[in-house]
Amino acid sequence: MHDVYVSGENVITSLGFTIEENIENIRNDVTGVRLRGDKKLFPEDFFASIIDSQQLDREFHSPEHKPDFTRFEKIMICSAEKALAENTHIDASSEKTIFVISSTKGNIDLLEEDKKILFEPDRVYLWKSAEIIAEYFGNKNKPVVISNACVSGVLAISTASEMLRSGWYNHAVVIGGDIVTEFVVSGFQSFKSLSFGPCKPFDLNRDGLNLGEGAGTILMTTRKEALPKGAIIKVLGGACNNDANHISGPSRTGEGLMLAVTRAMKNSGLTAEQIDFISAHGTATPYNDEMESKAFSAAGLCHVPLNSLKGYFGHTLGAAGIIESAIAIQGMKQNILFKTMGYSELGVTEKISVVDRLTEKTQKYIVKTASGFGGCNAAVILEKL
């Protein structure tokens, strides 16, 4: 069994195209959630976090000898490219490197009438985008594609780490992404789960989520010598499971998430007392946040500071687990906890410890959690050496 380390990260969100830009904005209380009046996305104005398209065009150019890429593929490739550029020890084209892709809907906008003709019919399938992304980097291994609602990102990190731990590969490029589309906005609207303003995770007055688009990359390796200088982050155990309660509503008891968290801790050889921080899912819907508070309480984690980052970039679906883990990793490296944007007063039953301001804290072990449609929950533990 090999130890698995994080050797680099990147995120692309409305707050920027680098980790540094995103962190700078988070530290300065800047949110990327705005009122959007794009009638192509939805007939009425709505709050969302959208990547700057002009900047995307500047940052990503289709190489002339290569074909066009979709918006989804561009943010995925751009994110991975930036992460790899800063971590040249990882050879993306090596047979000892595996690409793990996480997304809920990928190129779903290609179902729109005016977009159908832009690309071949197969392009709407995630296996096809994943192939194109891996090919871009010259990687010949078949990418592993995970599509498991909003836990996809956390599950991708955990799955990639186990593949490396078992010695199948030396390196993993884990990329998660989703774009804001009419498909998704209209769907969440039909569920009446969108907030009427910037979202308020765990807050008394929370009223729903904001959608966001983004891509995140986490590079992993078993080669300690390939790590950049500075703090070393290890990926420990994880777990994923089902609430077995309802396909869209979270369990009222939080049993599923509690089990995922306790199993992840057990798989990492840890107890609740050793956890220093929780990067929670915190979508700011009335039911999700309540469920999470119950789960964390049942797992013995009420005293552990937690945050949600959804107030900065919205809910980025298949990217959420990756983007939020990358930010949490920065928090570990810098010994700080980022505040929960949008939160002011606790609005859940259990007395959990929501971080409401930038706080200095050394963290040795943190847990990243996610929950999603279909009743799934996932958790993964990270360690700072």
Binding site: S190, F191, K192, H246, I247, S248, G249
Partner: protein
């Protein structure tokens, strides 16, 4: 439209909109609870009834919590539609 006529129409529409395939319109008691006991509809069904109200009757309900009160039975739903359409 008379209340009874509207109730008959709603029974058919609810079965169709909510995919209650194993039920016939006459199986739905107009005064039985739609949620919890009775038909045992869930939160997604409540949202679908909101869509039905807008699509077939032009009535918009923004807050799903408001919906649950209106939808306690087919008869309360029918009464709500008749009241709201009178007001228009």
């Amino acid at each position: 439209m008379e209340e009874q006529e509207l109730i008959e129409k709603l029974r058919k529409e609810i079965i169709q909109q909510l995919n209650l395939e194993e039920l016939k319109p006459e199986d739905i008691d107009p005064d039985a609870a739609l949620f919890g006991e009775g038909l045992g509809l869930d939160s997604i069904d409540a949202l679908e009834i909101i869509v039905l109200l807008e699509k077939n009757y032009g009535i918009k309900i923004e807050d799903p919590k408001e919906g649950k009160k209106i939808f306690s039975s087919i008869r309360t739903l029918a009464k709500y539609i008749m009241d709201h359409q009178k007001a228009q």
